[in-house]
């Protein structure tokens, strides 16, 4: 039967199910198919910290949202147009986010009395009129999958587990996605078990064919490719991009990358990824604790590697003393903090930007470090290179503040030309630098960068000792001299403060904005989308986004002071706003949410319009 085909410019789909239902994988595959088609994409996984919460319960619901469009998009979308609910819990947990009129595809097999009772449904929402405002598509996903696999040599359990591929097949049909990459993926994933390849492919095709034949789905949709810059793309998450950025930093500096890490959500994927790249000379050590992880990284830096440690907020707290040592030793060190909701264990799989204060100030003594933050998943690649550049050039710890939103979200990435990446080569000290020609002065600085020489063990004639005790200028000998300490403290501060960073750029297409929205890190997408919305209503607004939080761009004060009002949205209680007020005496308006979720463009738009009304 011929189905009607309708064109859409954008769609937001949310796949939701039990945490054992494979929703992340389903979302991932759908995203990959969508990327192949050339749509712009943004994704947002949302999963519980528990690996397998009790089946069928609300805390066990895992979801994956994908937004795709025929134009460039900035966020994973505020509200889904389509919800795939694999069980009653998934429906209940996500219904409130759906606008009226949205499509809901439900797996009716899971709507049993027992499963309904688990989440407090007295009657099935499929049978009463509680879903009257939505377009509900009841599909017996599990039983149809099992039926389709009747002739396959797989257990009933394995057959049931393939139901996510049935759902993926159906959605792929519905949105006219190319599926070759999924078939290839299944062949790779189950290479050791051909019977599972066959079963999963069959389940996928059954889902596709079901869409084509059933009358319940009368319409098929198309979303045309977006106009994107020519080149080769791949879809990438922030954690993957960050890992590749570190590998690239190793290649471009010619130094081995050494990662010391202790597993922690949501940073562990960087450890997993880097451990695969031994052929690049990358060493990964899964340390006994967070302190050892940064200690090993610092020890490797001392030996001439690019030392890196990756963690989340609680880990940074533990590493703080070693980071201060690195400040005193003046050695390169990259500390990646993939922020999550705190304090303490907080909400490990939810996002937040509340570690800015810790990154800027969370050490004993005057211990300044450089701090940078990526603005999107693919930007994590370039942020990692920039962190390495600063660490290597200025011999300093650099904290890279990613967060769960960019780390696990994904977007298309225009692959850069390797030769266009920054040249990060460094020169180790090779000969004495004292005036007498024989003495080595480990704290004699380069007048331009204020960096001290990096003399690695193994270099004859430069044997020297460094340590956490205050050092005399130039010689590096232990010193308790008051004037020397004052000088060294100020020099360490100046060393960071004078790192040249690019000026901040302002986006104000109308050119007459009186209100500036200033953000940092992962809020770039939602703020950008909100600004677009504001402008579409004929209002002017300017957007600027900070990548360098320490040091800050030299033109920032001037930019801030040229607007009547400055609004700073943050997923914390105003940490950047505090800095801006203190440094620039600008009476910034702080807009804050700490719900563990990224801002929606809609709520930011409303906030900005309120501000604009009062200018």
């Amino acid at each position: 039967m011929t189905k009607q085909i309708r064109q859409l410019d954008r769609v937001v789909i949310r796949f939701a199910g039990d945490s054992g239902d494979g929703m992340q994988l389903t979302g991932d595959r759908f995203t990959s198919e969508t990327a192949q088609l050339g749509n712009d994409i943004s994704t947002l996984p949302n999963f519980p910290a528990e690996i397998r919460a009790p089946a069928g319960t609300l805390p066990g619901v895992s979801s994956f949202q994908v937004h795709f469009a025929d134009y460039d998009i900035l966020t994973p979308g505020d509200a889904p147009n389509v919800l795939v609910a694999m069980n009653p819990a998934a429906l209940k947990a996500n219904l409130a986010d759906l606008p009226r009129g949205a499509d809901i595809i439900v797996n009716t097999d899971e709507f049993t009395k027992r499963n309904l009772a688990k989440v407090g449904y007295q009657t099935s929402p499929l049978d009463d009129d509680s879903l009257a405002g939505y377009v509900v598509h009841p599909v017996a996903l599990t039983s149809m999958t099992v039926g389709a696999l009747a002739a396959h040599q797989v257990s009933k359990k394995d057959a049931e587990r393939s139901k996510n591929m049935f759902a993926l097949g159906l959605l792929s049909w519905m949105y006219s996605r190319p599926y070759e990459s999924t078939l290839r993926f299944l062949e790779r994933k189950f290479a050791a078990r051909p019977e599972l390849v066959a079963a999963n492919v069959a389940a996928f095709k059954a889902g596709w064919n079901f869409g084509e034949t059933t009358e319940d789905f009368a319409v098929r949709y198309e979303v045309k490719p977006a106009k994107m810059k020519p080149g080769t793309y791949r879809n990438i998450t922030g954690n993957a991009a960050l890992s590749l950025g570190l590998v690239a930093a190793g290649v471009r500096s010619g130094l081995p990358v050494f990662l010391g890490a202790y597993p922690i959500t949501p940073a562990s994927d960087i450890l997993h990824e880097l451990s695969k790249h031994k052929r690049f000379g990358v060493i990964t050590v899964q340390a006994e604790d967070e302190i050892a992880a940064v200690g090993a990284a610092l020890g490797a830096s001392y030996g001439g590697s690019l030392g890196v440690t990756t963690t989340s907020g609680p880990g940074v707290a533990l590493k703080s003393e070693t980071i201060s040592l690195a400040v005193a030793l003046e050695l390169p060190l990259v500390i990646v903090d993939v922020q999550r909701a705190g304090p303490s264990t907080g909400m490990p799989t939810k996002t937040e930007q509340a570690d800015l204060n810790m990154a800027l100030y969370g050490r004993h003594g005057e211990a300044p470090v450089a701090v940078i933050a990526p603005r999107s998943p693919s930007d994590c690649f370039f942020a990692a290179l920039e962190a390495a550049r600063i660490a290597l050039t200025y011999r300093t710890p650099v904290i890279l503040l990613s967060d769960n939103y960019v780390a696990n979200g994904s977007e298309p990435w225009l692959l850069p030309d390797v030769e266009s990446l920054p040249d990060l080569r460094v020169e180790f000290a090779t000969k004495p630098n004292g005036e007498d020609g024989t003495t080595f002065l480990p704290y004699l600085r380069d007048p331009e960068t204020l960096a001290r020489p990096w003399a690695i063990p193994g270099t004859a004639g430069l044997e020297h000792r460094i340590g956490g005790l205050e050092k005399a200028d130039k010689t590096g000998d232990i010193s308790y001299d008051p004037a020397n300490h004052d000088f060294m403290v100020r020099t360490r501060a100046a060393r960071i403060e004078t790192i040249p960073v690019p000026d901040i750029e302002v986006e104000d297409p109308d050119g007459d904005a009186r209100v500036l929205v200033l953000g940092w890190g992962s809020t770039y997408g939602p703020i950008g989308a909100a600004c677009r919305g504001v402008r579409q209503r004929g209002l002017s607004i300017a957007q600027a986004h900070l990548r360098h939080l320490a040091p800050m761009p030299a033109n920032l004060g001037e930019v801030l002071r040229s607007y009547d009002k400055v609004v700073i949205p943050e997923m914390n209680l105003g940490q950047l706003a505090h800095v801006i007020r203190a440094r620039y005496l600008v009476d910034a308006i702080s807009y804050n949410q700490v719900r563990g979720l990224p801002f929606t463009a809609t709520e930011l738009e409303t906030t900005l319009e309120e501000v604009l009304k009062n200018v």
């Binding site: 290649v251 010619g254 050892a292 200690g295 020890g299 850069p416 004639g461």
Partner: protein, 344 residues
């Protein structure tokens, strides 16, 4: 860069220009002098030798060695040295630590370095007291010790550092004494030759806060009856004319000291540091009583086990062996791996 020096180094070459600032009479001086004198015989160039320390009196050690060195932070030396050693297998990396640094604040790093068998020579200066913070009890102080922080006597049971190291799977464990230069050097020599972690406890006198802690082991009138000098391949006897010996008591788990005259010669345990089962070295480590009687010194255990460094380097080498492209080509390949699409 100056050319590698082919001339034979001497103790003087290992002395840095820094004034040594331990308290007069401290046992650390003797250890420093012994190590400076011993280093040249290893034939390792100074620039390839690195001393890493934590915090405490002993941890000032690197400043006085004319090698590469890092005086780091409290307890973390084994972690920092792990990163250095694993990434630079060409270096000889030594960790200098104390009983507080290694066993209290840094206990976790110590046991994991030993478990992994990182190629580190770990020298634990045990004076059974906190010296740098002026006299609190340490994790090796005896129960009931009266110190500034324990006026009524310490309630803590102490660690036996060698038992701990053995429990942590150490492949080399030894003990020596600050005042016995010849013995100290012989144990360090064996440690230096060992591939993997070598853990050496050095009894060290703090003459300010815990003077005479090991006096019975040093006093000529008592030491022979107190010390058991372990020698590989030799029956374990000690005391004047070998009047005491070590035996496996029938039906028991450990080792015991007997009068040599009361046992048959074949009952005397012949020391073998290469015994695979750590239970033997553990039993040796449990011989001394609170009064320091029956204290073995020497190499307790020295077994072959691949070092962490060598395994990591072998994995790197295996991965790199398949590479035919330049790093830039490899990187371009990596960036473009997975599902890609092209927009023209």
């Amino acid at each position: 860069m100056s050319e590698p020096v082919a001339v034979k180094l001497t103790a003087k070459d290992f002395k840095s220009d820094q004034e040594v600032r331990w308290c007069p009479g401290c046992g650390d001086y003797a250890i420093l002098a012994a190590i400076q004198q011993f280093m040249p015989e290893l034939n390792i160039p100074r620039e390839r030798t690195v001393f890493v320390s934590g915090i405490g009196c002993s941890s000032r050690f690197p400043y006085y060695m004319n090698t590469y060195g890092m005086h780091s932070i409290h307890g973390r030396a084994p972690a920092i040295a792990t990163g250095l050693s694993v990434s630079r297998p060409d270096l000889s990396v030594w960790v200098v630590t104390g009983d507080g640094d290694a066993l209290s604040i840094g206990g976790n790093h110590l046991i994991h370095a030993l478990r992994r068998n990182v190629n580190l020579k770990i020298l634990l200066f045990n004076n059974r007291i906190y010296g740098l913070t002026k006299g609190q009890y340490s994790p090796t102080s005896e129960v009931g010790k009266i110190t500034k922080s324990t006026p009524a006597g310490s309630a803590d049971a102490p660690f036996n550092p060698l038992s701990l190291a053995l429990g942590a799977e150490a492949s080399f464990v030894g003990r020596t004494i600050d005042s016995d230069r010849k013995h100290l050097q012989s144990v360090l020599r064996a440690a230096a030759e060992h591939e993997g972690s070598a853990f050496v406890e050095i009894y060290q006198n703090c003459n300010i806060f815990n003077d005479g802690a090991f006096e019975q082991l040093k006093d000529p009138s008592t030491r022979d009856d107190y010390l058991i000098r372990l020698e590989h391949g030799q029956p374990i006897t000690f005391g004047a004319d070998g009047r005491f010996c070590v035996v496996h008591p029938p039906g028991g788990f450990g080792l015991e000291v007997r009068d040599t005259s009361s046992v048959r010669p074949e009952e005397i345990v012949v020391h073998d540091a290469t015994v695979t089962d750590p239970a033997y070295a553990f039993a040796l480590s449990r011989l001394p009583g609170l009064d320091l009687r029956n204290t073995p010194i020497g190499v307790f255990r020295s077994v072959d086990r691949p070092s962490y460094d060598s395994v990591v380097q072998a994995q790197l080498a295996a991965a790199k062996a398949t590479v035919t492209e330049t790093p830039e080509q490899q990187l371009a390949g990596l960036l473009g791996s997975g599902d890609t699409w092209t927009i023209s």
